[in-house]
C-alpha cells in the first residue's frame, strides 16, 4: 500500500519538519486530532502510514485510534493523489441534473473507471462528493478548489482539457505528459 510517492518537491526530511511544526502547534490541546490530520493532509497531500504513526505518538493515542478517525471521515486520504483533484458533485440537485453523465464524460476522458480514482501518471484524481452547496448551478464539479457550474459532458471535458493544457505548457510536454498519453485511450 505504501508507495515512495513524495508530493511536490519536498524530501522526507522536509516532510517530517512540516509535520513536527503542526504537531507542536496543537500540542496539549484536547480534541485536536482532526485539525492535526487536516493540516497534515493539506501540507503533505495525503496521510501515509508513517505520518499516522508519528501523529499517534505525538498525541498519545494508539495507531488504531488514529487510523479509526482517519478512516471514519470522507475527507481523509490514505493514498497519494494526483496533481489535480477533480471532485464531481453528486448531491440531489446535481443528480437530477445528470451528474452521472458528467462522471462518465470526465472519467472516460481520463481513462478511469466510473467510480473515479487516480490516473497512472499521477496527474488527476477524480472523486465523487456530495453537494458542494451551489445547487442552482448543477451539475457542478470542483477542480483544485475552483468550482465549475452549469456543466454538460462537453463542457466538463473541456474544463479537464484546460488543466491538461496548462500542465503541458508548464512542463513543456515533459516525461509526465508522455506517460499520460499512453494511459489515455
Amino acid at each position: 500500500m505504501m508507495s515512495a510517492y513524495s508530493p511536490g518537491a519536498c524530501d522526507n526530511g522536509e516532510q517530517s519538519r512540516v509535520l513536527e511544526k503542526i504537531l507542536k502547534k496543537y500540542k496539549g490541546s484536547e480534541g485536536a486530532l482532526i485539525p492535526v490530520l487536516q493540516e497534515a493532509q493539506e501540507a503533505l497531500g495525503y496521510l501515509s502510514e508513517e505520518t499516522l504513526k508519528k501523529i499517534a505518538k505525538a498525541t498519545g493515542r494508539t495507531l488504531a485510534q488514529v487510523y479509526g478517525v482517519a478512516t471514519f471521515y470522507a475527507q481523509f486520504r490514505l493514498e497519494p493523489i494526483g496533481k489535480h483533484l477533480v471532485r464531481i458533485c453528486h448531491g440531489t440537485a446535481c443528480h437530477v441534473a445528470g451528474a452521472d453523465d458528467i462522471d462518465a464524460a470526465v472519467c472516460g476522458h481520463l481513462g478511469l473507471p466510473e467510480e473515479g480514482g487516480t490516473t497512472g501518471d499521477m496527474e488527476f484524481t477524480v472523486e465523487k462528493v456530495v453537494c458542494v452547496g451551489a445547487c442552482s448551478l448543477a451539475p457542478i464539479m470542483i477542480v483544485d478548489g475552483v468550482a465549475h457550474g452549469r456543466l454538460n459532458p462537453d463542457k466538463a471535458r473541456s474544463v479537464i482539457k484546460s488543466y491538461q493544457k496548462s500542465e503541458n505548457e508548464r512542463s513543456g510536454g515533459g516525461a509526465r505528459s508522455g506517460k499520460r498519453a499512453q494511459k489515455k485511450k
Binding site: 482532526i34 471521515y73 440531489t92 453523465d101 456530495v130 445547487c135 442552482s136 457550474g149
Partner: protein, 592 residues
C-alpha cells in the same frame, strides 16, 4: 455606504462557480481603463442563483439595477451603457428598483428576515453589518436584560429550531441554562450535510455576523463560557468569512473577555468538519469536536446536561441563530405574528432542480408549496410538467402535484409524509424516475450510515439492494411489501435519526408513485425513461431532420442514416449514454 456610484458583484460560492471572479476582474479593468470614480465591492448571495453571475449597479439619480447572467464580455457594454451613458440595459436587467421586471416576483413573493442582508452588505465588512442595525440586539441584551428575560423572549417568539426537528429554541435554552457545570458550551451546527441544500452556507457567506450575534446572545442566555461553530469542510469560503467575522467582532469588543463591559465573556472557535453526514446529529457532532469518530450515542444523557467534555452543551442550527437578533430587535410579538399557530416566522428554502428560478427562497411559514414553486420559483423549466417536490433531503419525502397546496410548516409537511428538514426543496419533472430518486437517497444514507447500530447499517443496505434490482428490471412482486416492512423496522430500531428517517424517501415514493414501482417490477418499464437497463433509444422519423449531429457524436457508432434523411439507432450497438438525446435539437430521440 457612501454616495459614490457603486458596482457590486455577488461572490458567494455559487457566484464564483458561475464565473464571478472573471466578471469582477473585467469590471475592475474597465473601470480603471476609463478612469471612473466608481466603487467596486463584493457581496454574498442574494438568492437569484438561477441567474448568476449577478452584478448590481447603484448610480446617482438612477434606480438600483441588478443585472443577471453577466459574462465577462458583457462588462464593457454595462459599464459604457449604464455607468457612463446612464442607460439601463433592459434585456440584461433582472431587477430594476421600483419597476416591474419579469423576474421581480422572485423577491416580491418572499419575506426576508434571515436573508435580509444577504446579497446587500459586504459580509467581510463589520461596519456594513452595524449600519443595518447589527449588534444592536446584543447591546440591548447586555445592557438591560437578564439571561432569563432573553430566554423568555425567545420562548414567547415561538422560534423553533431550523436544523430539522423543530424543537422550540426557548425551551432548549432553558434546559441548558438549568444544567450545572464548570464550563458550558454553545455550538452552532453548520454541518449542512443535506445534499441539495445550501441555505446555511448562504447565510454564513452572506451575513456571518448575524449568526455570531445570535450565538453570543444565546451564550449569554444560557451562561455559556465557550462557543464552537462546527462547519462543513466543503465550505471553505464560509469558514474563511466566519474566522474574519470572529476576529472583527472580537476587536470591537462584541466577543472575548468582558463583552461591552457587561462582565459576560465568550470566545468562539470555528471547527471544520471532515466529511461525515452523521456529524450533523448532535451527539455525533460532540464526539467529532472532541476529536473522535463521529458516532452518535444513545440519549439520555442529553447534550444539555452532558455534552462536550461532559459539560452542558446547547446546539442550534445556523438559521436558528440568525433569527435571534431580529427577534430581540423587533420583539417576540412581531415575530409571532408571522406564520401559523404552531410554526412562527419564516423559513429559508433552497429551491433547486427543474424549477425555472432556482435559488434562495425565504417565505412566511404556512405558505403553500405551490406558492413557493410556482410563485417564487416561476414554475418548471423548459415548459415541462411538474412531477414531484422532494423536501427535507435524505430524511424527507417526495410530494406529488395533488399535495401542492400543502402549507410549509412543522405540522402540515409531516402529515403529508415529508418533513420540513433543513430546507432543501428539489423540484423534479417528468424526466426523473421516482424509483431512481429513492435509490439515490438510499445510496446516500447507506454510505453515510456510521455502522454503529444494526438496523441502520444492514437495513439500509438490504433496502438499497432491493431498489437496485428493481431499477435493473429484476424486481420481484413481493419486493414492495418487503421494502415497506424493512422501512418500519429501520425506523423503529435505529439509534439515531439518520436511520430513523432514512426510509422516508422510499415510503413517500411508494405512497404517491407506487405505479412507477409496479411498472418497473411487472412491466420491466421505466416510465421516465431513465433506468438504462429498462429503456431502448429510438429516433422519431417525423421529427428527425437528418442533420447528422447525433451520428457524428455517437461514441459507439450505433447511429446510421443519410444526410437530410431520418436516422436510426442500432439497438445492439447502443450503449445508452444519452449523448444523442442531449445533442438533438429537434427532440427527435426518445426512449421506450
Amino acid at each position: 455606504m457612501s454616495g459614490k456610484d457603486r458596482v457590486v458583484v455577488g461572490l458567494a460560492t455559487c457566484g464564483i462557480a458561475a464565473g464571478g471572479v472573471s466578471v469582477m476582474e473585467e469590471i475592475r479593468r474597465e473601470i480603471k481603463k476609463r478612469n471612473l470614480g466608481v466603487e467596486v465591492a463584493e457581496t454574498g448571495c442574494i438568492g437569484y442563483c438561477f441567474a448568476e453571475v449577478l452584478v448590481e449597479i447603484q448610480k446617482a439619480g438612477m434606480p438600483k439595477v441588478i443585472y443577471g447572467e453577466v459574462k465577462p464580455n458583457d462588462v464593457p457594454l454595462i459599464v459604457e451603457g449604464h455607468l457612463i451613458e446612464g442607460k439601463i440595459l433592459r434585456d440584461k436587467a433582472l431587477l430594476i428598483e421600483g419597476r416591474k421586471t419579469p423576474e421581480a416576483d422572485f423577491l416580491k413573493k418572499q419575506k426576508r428576515i434571515v436573508l435580509a442582508n444577504c446579497g446587500l452588505i459586504d459580509p467581510e465588512n463589520i461596519d456594513d453589518y452595524i449600519a443595518t442595525g447589527g449588534y444592536e440586539a446584543l447591546k440591548k441584551v447586555l445592557s438591560g436584560m437578564t439571561p432569563e428575560q432573553v430566554r423568555e423572549e425567545i420562548l414567547a417568539s415561538g422560534l423553533r429550531g431550523r436544523g430539522g426537528a423543530g424543537f422550540p429554541t426557548g425551551q432548549k435554552w432553558n434546559l441548558c441554562a438549568m444544567a450545572q457545570g464548570k464550563d458550558k458550551y454553545i455550538v452552532c451546527n453548520a454541518d449542512e450535510g443535506d445534499p441539495g441544500a445550501f441555505m446555511d452556507r448562504s447565510v454564513l457567506e452572506g451575513d456571518p455576523h448575524a449568526v455570531i450575534e445570535g450565538m453570543i446572545i444565546g451564550g449569554y442566555a444560557i451562561g455559556a463560557t465557550h462557543g464552537y461553530i462546527y462547519c462543513r469542510a466543503e465550505y471553505p469560503l464560509a469558514v474563511r468569512r466566519l474566522k474574519k467575522a470572529i476576529a472583527d467582532a472580537t476587536s470591537r469588543g462584541f466577543l472575548g473577555k468582558n463583552i461591552l463591559s457587561s462582565g459576560y465573556s465568550l470566545d468562539i472557535v470555528v471547527k471544520e468538519g471532515a466529511g461525515a453526514f452523521v456529524c450533523g446529529e448532535e451527539t455525533a457532532l460532540i464526539a467529532s469536536i472532541e476529536g473522535k469518530r463521529g458516532m452518535p450515542r444513545p440519549r439520555p444523557p442529553f447534550p444539555a446536561n452532558k455534552g462536550i467534555w461532559g459539560m452542558p452543551t446547547n446546539i442550534n442550527n445556523v438559521e436558528t441563530f440568525a433569527n435571534v437578533p431580529w427577534i430581540i430587535r423587533n420583539r417576540a410579538k412581531k415575530f409571532a405574528k408571522m406564520g401559523t399557530v404552531g410554526s412562527k416566522g419564516t423559513k429559508v428554502f433552497c429551491l433547486t432542480g427543474k424549477v425555472r428560478r432556482g435559488g434562495l427562497a425565504e417565505v412566511e411559514m404556512g405558505t403553500t408549496l405551490r406558492e413557493v414553486i410556482f410563485g417564487v420559483g416561476g414554475g418548471i423549466k423548459e415548459g415541462r410538467k411538474f412531477k414531484a417536490v422532494q423536501i427535507g433531503g435524505p430524511s424527507g419525502g417526495c410530494l406529488p402535484e395533488s399535495l401542492l397546496d400543502t402549507p410549509v410548516d412543522y405540522d402540515s409537511l409531516p402529515a403529508a409524509g415529508a418533513i420540513m428538514g433543513s430546507g432543501g426543496m428539489v423540484v423534479v419533472d417528468d424526466t426523473t424516475c421516482m424509483v431512481d430518486l429513492a435509490k439515490y437517497f438510499l445510496t446516500f444514507t447507506q454510505m453515510e450510515s456510521c455502522g454503529k447500530c444494526v438496523p441502520c447499517r444492514l437495513g439500509t443496505k438490504r433496502m438499497l439492494e432491493i431498489l437496485t434490482r428493481i431499477c435493473k428490471g429484476e424486481g420481484k412482486p413481493e419486493d414492495i411489501d418487503l421494502l415497506e416492512k424493512l422501512a418500519i423496522d429501520i425506523k423503529e430500531g435505529s439509534l439515531c435519526q439518520l436511520g430513523g428517517t432514512a426510509p422516508n424517501p422510499v415510503l413517500t415514493t411508494l405512497r404517491y408513485f407506487r405505479d412507477e414501482y409496479v411498472a418497473h417490477i411487472r412491466d420491466k418499464r421505466c416510465p421516465a425513461g431513465l433506468c438504462v437497463d429498462l429503456v431502448t433509444f429510438h429516433i422519431d422519423p417525423e421529427k428527425c431532420t437528418g442533420c447528422g449531429v447525433c451520428l457524428k457524436n455517437c461514441p459507439s457508432g450505433a447511429i446510421s442514416g443519410e444526410r437530410k434523411k431520418p436516422h436510426v439507432i442500432d439497438e445492439d450497438k447502443c450503449i445508452k449514454c444519452r449523448e444523442c438525446i442531449r445533442r438533438c435539437r429537434f427532440d427527435a430521440v426518445y426512449t421506450v
